[in-house]
Symmetry: C2
Subunit: 332 residues, 2 copies
């Protein structure tokens, strides 16, 4: 018997779509619990100040060491909410699937979404499916989170004197996807760092450290994120290359391929700008959390032109440019 | 000079993407107004009970008589919120664009989104862009609306004795897209009915009529929507074919092509199930609104097996099946 696959009818609004929703999505993700057959889900939020975000995810191949498209779709949006200090609550999920995509593989994606949603403590409350003739599967998620009363955590809130903290080692996600895509075998298999960061952020905020900026360095990597922050806050950021944690296997792979680890995408670490006097307190809180053991202070903020500098391992200083183009397309 | 088009770099998280956001999205849609450079937008909602929905839109061709993909992306999600009685407030927008798509055409889509958002009174507060190698442009929108305290309007709330009201004539959207796609010229150009319905719904609710169900018959048409409601509410629905408003040009086109107007997609009309005693009041409120002039009572709900029957023009009765497959793929 032929393997069941996604057909045009699965996106058609009729019987086949209802069966797909029942057998794949509700079976995997659970019901919104309020009459899932309506055009919109009903939710309750604990406060009137919310954070909202959206992201579409497409990664080639959709399975990679350490996760799949489903992990990205949930963690990416959960992390975008966490990066403004919000507590993630609800997600929506929109699937754009190519005809012929095996239902078994779709279930694999949905299972990872369910697992990551549980881990992050969010509920997926609304969904949609469209079927297109070809291409990679795309999952869009939008997220809603509860904002705290204060402080405002923003890319425009960096201040001279801030310490720049990185919560984990960099480059894993990009190198993991690349190795699978290109069939490159490195000595050690490098797994993506994809993970929800809301628990880690909550631990950091609970420490009482004064946090000004949070940013997860996904597309564009650390170099892209720092340039955005320097520009939005009109400050100069200086990092020490030697203090940026990079796993030896990731460093070897980057050397081999000619990549700068600062430009490679991450999906499970964050940059935190904290008041300089609170750097130690922030580090301790992060390192006490399972996802923050490798946290390190990697630089500081000072008055100056809006740019990013790096003290190199050799003792010089170089300008860290905003990456142009895309190092690795369709990576998250 | 070559026409500017979407390139891989526009989805890459670097300089090109920032320029796209500034020149196309912020120029067209306006800033979220709270530091648009952060990973999530900050919003305020007036109450803690919200409706949430998501939909991905892909239509071939992306321009059709009466609108384009941008009209659909805003109206579709606004209408999904309106169909649970919610007041639409905020949208997110996720673009999945093929490499080479002209920026001028993207601007045309964004302009329609901005125009429809203004019309519906919603703000687009967060966005995302991914670039894929080929395919049609896809826009995903997620929406957040404020739910009233009561009553619960739901596809599972139809009751025997309800009058089934249709707020406008059916079949326009599907036939408009089909005519453009296939290059069929009908005597009169048929325009899509795409429009935000939240104003019309507000007028209906303000009339005091007891509304049990609202549903916009998009993919699957009126036949699909009525079958969903019959099944969710465990009731029998009987409609009079002769009372279903269909524009003469749409009826001719359907006759010619062998389509049942009840199965053709709509984007600007709704089914409303109201307590039978309130049918007249509901009709008056709808007809007084510019989008409801052709509103008509088309049937009623009774106890019986969960199914949909139609009294035919010839005096017989037929079973109206849930449409299987997809009459017209990639239509909304």
């Amino acid at each position: 018997m032929a393997e069941p696959v996604v057909t045009r009818a699965h996106g058609g609004g009729g019987r086949e779509m209802r069966e797909l929703i029942r057998d794949v999505f509700l079976a995997g993700l659970g019901d919104a619990g309020d009459g899932g057959s309506d055009d919109a889900a009903r939710i309750e939020v604990p406060a009137c100040r919310l954070a909202v975000t959206t992201d579409s995810f497409v990664v080639q191949p959709w399975r990679f060491p350490g996760g799949n498209l489903g992990d990205l779709a949930v963690c990416g949006t959960v992390n975008d909410l966490a990066m403004v200090g919000a507590r993630p609550l609800y997600l929506t999920a929109g699937f754009v699937l190519p005809e012929g995509f095996p239902l078994r593989e779709l279930k694999e994606i949905v299972e990872r979404m369910a697992e990551r949603a549980r881990e992050a403590g969010v509920r997926i409350v609304a969904g949609d499916t469209k079927v297109v003739p070809f291409g990679d599967p795309v999952v869009n998620t939008a997220g809603i989170g509860a904002l705290p009363e204060a402080p405002v955590i923003s890319g425009s809130a960096a201040r001279p004197g801030d310490a720049v903290v990185l919560t984990g080692d960099v480059g894993r996600h990009g190198i993991a996807v690349l190795s699978r895509r290109e069939g490159i075998g490195f000595e050690a298999e490098i797994e993506s760092d994809v993970a929800p960061l809301n628990g880690l952020v909550a631990a950091l905020l609970a420490s009482g450290a004064e946090v000004h900026v949070l940013r997860d360095p996904t597309r564009g990597g650390v170099a892209g994120a720092l340039n955005e922050i320097a520009s939005a806050s009109s400050v100069e950021i200086v990092i020490d290359e030697a203090r940026v944690p990079v796993a030896p296997a990731v460093r070897s792979a980057c050397d081999l391929l000619g990549y700068d680890p600062l430009e490679v995408a991450n999906e499970g670490c964050a940059l935190a700008f904290v008041a300089g006097r609170d750097a130690q307190r922030a580090l301790e809180a992060l390192r006490a959390h399972p996802r923050g053991r490798r946290a390190a202070v990697v630089g500081e903020v000072r008055e100056g032109p809006a740019r990013v500098l790096a003290r190199t391992v050799l003792g010089g200083t170089r300008l860290v440019d905003e990456p142009a183009g895309e190092l690795l397309p369709r990576i998250c």
